[in-house]
Symmetry: none
Subunit: 213 residues, 4 copies
DNA sequence: AATGAATGAGGTTTCATTCAT
DNA sequence: TATGAATGAAACCTCATTCAT
């Protein structure tokens, strides 16, 4: 009978060997999660996949939830943050929107398994969901500010609530990506999706641009 | 976890008493699911909530998945299927869209707990997810056909891929509803949401209407 | 992975079969505890000893601590509560004291294994220790009141603090019993112990009695 | 739990550095034992408290039991052995008894945490219990011899079995100390306890002394 | 049809101990 | 000597499902 509370675990490694093991565990966790899904992933499997003893998992993590967090942290770089204002011909809003949509869809397709996983874990783990919403909010804010700028320049429909419009259109893109690349709905190419989504954005925002005359 | 194939399957009740018990179980299941979520709902809890013995559950159902199906069947009526073409001033597409969005959001808000549950179970139960996608597809088809009609009438942007546009815009609405009523993102009123969403639809579809002159 | 807190368990049986099983578990627990000691007793062993599946333990108890409580409750009757005033020639305090000591020692010897167990668990389980101290206090109170009565009758040394004296002399008897019957210190007979202890009590309390002229 | 016989045993340190480490470990062990109790003290905690790596523990000790022994050896000096014949006015047995009781109680109070620990470990570790009983026996022998001397001088009740009486009265004192300073029973001052205990001893032994005329 | 008790597989978690550096 | 990571045995506990009344 355990006579003691968990106490600690979840330490950062000090030695090189420890660092290696931790990395192996995170990689193994990612593989197991992508293969079995969050719920069916057993800690045992992660240890095995990493080639370490079952107990070694607890040298670095406290729970499945915690490794999952580590996997996500590791992966953050990999998932790009497409920004509406970054690319291409900065003066033509249509080009900007198109570039952003393309970047997003490509990244989504590239990491489809991971995105599926995130979607799943969001429905299972309260903390992760909250964290994710927070990030999405930041992203939407940026888009909203960009939209306000367009409205000021007289390029976009000034009657739109920028916040809501940004939220709704972002949701549209991410949901389309989810349906296409995780759920396998439809067979359209990235370019087909980019074309339609951009046209919808442009119309929705009331942008008048030479691109679509 | 099933160690053998179930000896008997959930049967339809024969006696009046049986009918009552089955109804009690389904109601209890809904309450427990909404309270604890799908994963944490124990069959034991459902029986207890229904005021029957643990074993009685298996007189009517084989598994958690199965009661969940029954709950959904029971609830189907309650969840409306907003159709783009049904209400109001059928000749003004803006009115039609607005009415559909309003109906959808109101229904979503009314059944928010249930919608959260469906979203969750979609991520957990393969079968349920597939079933739900099938329904969503049917719904989208209808919208796509309506859009084609608008394009033929010269009211909507003829260059849009009707399928994709319908899918994307439906996804937008349902995701906004999810964020607002399940995740608690924002504090906007139904009317505010309806206003923005409708304006986005109308713009996106390139509808030229007196309503928005 | 358990996704749920313990929830409940530890129910009282409703059916006759359940009652039988619970009794079997308590008896088995007592046997295992007396054989292996509290710490080394495994819940698994208790179930096995009772001839039921491992999981069945949790139908009636939540923890080792809880069965132990049940064992003690079951046993309470069996352990007599020797009272200084009950037996024999009520007017002769020496007879009364002697009878009480004899009764106590006999009971202790009869339940030596159990008493050893109680002593052990007192050092391990906070709650049990507190409970036991509470009982001991009640017992001491009674003795203290009896002593006050003797002091009022002019039979016992009036200068003694009755509370303290009662506590000290009770402790003396129980500790002697523990040393003799649990630790195996000495080889004296019950009567030898009764003789000395009574003589010590009588002297300590300053009782002047014909019995010891 | 040991799965193999220990490859090496706790050695005495050779270097000065080693000596320091060993001392740190013993001190840490005492602190952890007093804080967490014997059972809940983890070797890991002791190492941490001592500020050394987990593995370093095994350079000096083989087991928890072994450090505990070292702690006790370290502490032996600190725990006085009150002797009935040592102090004060050697000719007045009452003074002698009183002085011994006072010395014992003061020492017990001073080391209450440690005494609690010893009491606990006695119930858990067979070897330690035996060792402790042996010491107690030696102590009782001395008291018994002193009592015989008193009987020969005609000062104490000659009918008492000296062995038993010494054992019983010593047990009384140590148990009262345990209840008062470890279990927190009562609020009496040392002097109040000394007063009552001495009076009980004197009466119990049938000592006739000017002190109590 | 209902009851409620029994079953048992199997993943989780701990921590004393070992050992390569 | 010290370090700190790795090991792995072992018990716990849950709860879906069965089944005798």
């Amino acid at each position: 009978m355990p006579r003691q509370l968990p106490a600690h675990t979840g330490r950062a490694p000090v030695s090189a060997r420890g660092t290696r093991t931790r990395i192996a565990l995170v990689q193994a966790a990612r593989a197991v999660f992508e293969r079995d899904g969050y719920l069916d992933a057993r800690i045992t499997d992660i240890s095995a996949e990493a080639g370490v003893a079952a107990g070694s998992f607890y040298t670095y993590f406290t729970s499945k939830q915690e490794v999952f967090g580590a996997v996500m942290a590791d992966v953050e770089e990999e998932m790009l943050h497409p920004r509406i204002l970054e690319p291409a011909d900065r003066d033509d809003p249509v080009h900007v929107i198109e570039a952003a949509n393309r970047a997003y869809l490509l990244a989504y397709r590239r990491n489809a398994r991971l995105m599926a996983l995130m979607e799943q874990v969001s429905q299972i783990d309260e903390d992760f969901r909250r964290q994710r919403l927070r990030r999405a909010r930041a992203f939407t804010e940026r888009n909203a500010r960009a939209l306000v700028a367009l409205q000021r320049r007289g390029v976009a429909d000034p009657q739109l609530d920028a916040q809501l419009a940004a939220r709704a259109l972002s949701a549209m893109v991410s949901r389309v990506a989810y349906l296409r690349y995780v759920q396998g709905v439809g067979t359209e190419s990235v370019e087909a999706l980019v074309g339609v989504l951009t046209r919808l954005w442009v119309g929705a925002l009331g942008i008048r641009s030479a691109t679509y005359i």
